[in-house]
């Protein structure tokens, strides 16, 4: 994904930093000739406050969580969790065989994918429609982002009210002769969740698609106008290729965000959630704070981390970490 933005000169520098990755930060990577400001007197202490905080509140708990996944931990042993009995991989075995975890993984992944499948066309449509200047475009762009900026708990509370039996959505559907059944319980709740998630997250795809459209050079527009390309062909063969990168990014981040999304299903359905929307984060939460099976929950969380790691790994590979301007070196 990064290649399209790299000029030849940058590419070679990228390569060298890539090559240096196995033995990271090898000294030859640093600019040897300029041992100026950036070598002497580096204020590395400025990293300490943030670094310390992240180590204490993220890294330590992460390790703690992995350790806890091997303990038989309930509400009685939690206070003295250090002395709780160590039971090895039993929590993992129970999570994978005797708990709804696999079902939850399946639900989480399929809901994330289904929501992405709809948000991507919506986002592209929104971006294409607001790419050209017209009167009121600024207002429309602001409107498009409203669902994205509304807090998830507000979005969920509002849709929960609208989906109540007999409430506004039901009465609207009744007036056209449809009896929709229950939205917040039973098998249909899965689709309710997808609908609300689509509503809340299509503007993110829209934003990234818009940034992709803006990277289309004016010359490209001129060339296709000269060739007399019809609008559909122009979109399909000229403009869409520019969107591949941003949309791939939107897909990855969207998937990560959907799989991790706790607030929306939690507020929309409450806990205990109907089994059709017992997603991974909800299940982990309920196992901890409703059934008090802390060890089991830690094992579930660990398994979900592995699941997250797949898109995350792709994302980290694709992202351009460093700018063309290497620190220490002046252009």
């Amino acid at each position: 994904m990064s290649t399209d933005s790299l000029t030849a000169g940058k590419a070679s520098r990228r390569k060298s930093s890539h090559a240096a990755k196995p033995g990271p930060q090898s000294p030859e990577n640093a600019p040897r000739r300029r041992k100026g400001l950036s070598e002497r007197n580096r204020p590395l202490w400025m990293l300490i406050p943030g670094g310390l905080l992240m180590v204490i509140i993220i890294v330590v708990p992460l390790l703690l969580g992995i350790f806890m996944s091997g303990l038989d931990l309930d509400q009685y042993s939690l206070r003295k969790w250090v002395s709780a009995p160590f039971i090895g991989v039993q929590n993992f075995v129970e999570a994978l065989t005797a708990s709804p975890l696999l079902h939850a993984i399946w639900l989480s992944v399929s809901y994330s994918l289904l929501a992405m499948v709809v948000t991507i066309p919506l986002g592209i449509a929104g971006a294409v429609a607001t790419q050209n200047a017209f009167k009121g475009r600024a207002v429309i762009r602001s409107i498009f982002l409203i669902p994205y900026v509304l807090p998830s708990f507000v979005v969920a509370t509002v849709w929960r009210t609208m989906f109540q039996p007999g409430s506004v959505i039901d009465s609207a559907l009744h007036s056209v002769g449809i009896d929709p059944g229950l939205w917040l319980n039973g098998p249909q709740s899965f689709w309710t969740l997808i609908l609300v998630q689509i509503w809340a997250s299509w503007p993110f795809v829209y934003l990234l698609a818009l940034s992709g459209l803006q990277s289309v050079d004016h010359e490209v527009h001129e060339a296709s106008a000269l060739d007399g390309a019809l609008w559909w062909n122009k979109l399909r063969y000229v403009v869409f290729p520019y969107l591949k990168g941003p949309l791939a990014l939107a897909f990855l981040i969207g998937m990560l965000h959907h799989i991790n999304n706790f607030t929306l299903p939690f507020v929309l359905f409450g806990v205990p959630a109907p089994s059709d929307v017992e997603l991974l984060p909800i299940l982990t939460y309920v196992t901890s704070f409703q059934s008090f099976r802390f060890g089991l929950s830690a094992a579930m969380a660990f398994i979900s981390l592995i699941l997250i790691a797949i898109p995350l790994f792709v994302y980290l590979r694709a992202v351009k970490l460093d700018d063309s301007e290497t620190p220490g070196g002046k252009k």
Partner: protein, 306 residues
């Protein structure tokens, strides 16, 4: 991955010379009627639920339960009730306190971290950058239990009571806001020229002096963006707040969630109050966003995670 740089770098070139009709024709992507249809549909999709929040908040509970879109009765009394019934007065005060201090501290810490990461070469730099991205995606549900255990251990071993206070939330939000805020600052600081810093150094400024007197004033749009994202993280969180607060330290998000959940199974739920409280909780976020929209949109695509 070029979005990070394009979003920040290209903001100025966004419009193609407005007013020139020919340019407009050339860059056009779709026939006019088609555009109109798409725009109408998408605006309706967004605005109908948003309008409903307001309409239901001034409606009677029975009216909402009957499925009215336009209210048959009209009163603003829900907006006076929610402060005590939902507990929104304490909730909002706590939210402002926690999210606001998170925003300020996180912005200041992230600019220092980002400055070092952008301007200096050292061992582990790329690992830290990669780590910043990775940490943004660590699921909250994975962290909430161990953080809870860590904090309760702090109470039993060190005698520091963190659970149930605003401090616990503040520290947690601050930490989880740092990766994203730092990443936003990293992308912002890359765009700043070095010459001013070098001039200041020649005049004898220290590292801290350069940061405070040169970098900070130059990068306030970035600081605002990273601060706002930290604020939103604290404002929007339900997961940590639902586990680590007591009623008196509850944030607005939890207050609303608890109120909504407690309406189950009684007579007619207080829908009007729920909608009024939703609107009040959403208002600060939407206002912040409208004021700083230009900067925020660039920041959103830069870090890429909500």
């Amino acid at each position: 991955m070029s979005t990070a740089t394009t979003a920040v770098g290209r903001r100025s070139g966004e419009d193609f010379r407005p007013g020139s009709k020919r340019q407009h024709e050339v860059t056009r992507l779709m026939p006019g009627p088609m555009l109109a249809i798409i725009l109408t549909l998408l605006c309706a999709l967004v605005l109908i639920p948003v309008a409903y929040i307001f309409l239901a908040s001034v409606n009677s509970d029975i009216g909402v339960a009957r499925g009215e879109f336009l209210p048959s009765t009209f009163s603003f009394e829900n907006y006076t009730k929610i402060w005590t019934s939902v507990g929104l007065a304490t909730g909002l005060a706590n939210s402002v306190l926690v999210a606001g201090s998170t925003a300020v501290v996180s912005a200041l810490m992230s600019i220092a971290t980002a400055y070092v990461l952008v301007r200096y070469q050292f061992r582990g730099r790329l690992t830290i950058l990669r780590g910043l991205l990775a940490l943004q995606s660590v699921p909250g549900t994975l962290m909430v239990l161990p953080v809870f255990v860590l904090f309760s251990s702090a109470a039993s071993y060190l005698g520091i009571q963190v659970i149930g206070t605003q401090w616990g939330l503040f520290v947690t939000y601050l930490t989880f806001a740092m990766p994203f805020s730092t990443w936003v600052m990293v992308t912002y600081l890359r765009g700043l020229p070095r010459e001013l810093e070098e001039a200041a150094r020649i005049d004898g400024a220290s590292n801290l002096g350069v940061l405070v007197r040169i970098i900070l004033p130059l990068s306030w749009p970035g600081v605002v963006v990273s601060g706002i994202f930290a604020f939103l993280l604290g404002w929007n969180d339900v997961l940590f707040a639902s586990v680590m607060t007591r009623p008196e330290s509850q944030t607005a998000a939890v207050a609303l969630q608890v109120f909504g959940a407690s309406q189950e199974g009684g007579a007619i739920p207080f829908y009007g109050q729920m909608m009024a409280a939703s609107l009040v909780c959403a208002a600060p976020v939407v206002i912040l966003y409208l004021i700083f929209q230009r900067y925020l949109v660039g920041g959103l695509t830069a870090g890429g995670v909500k």
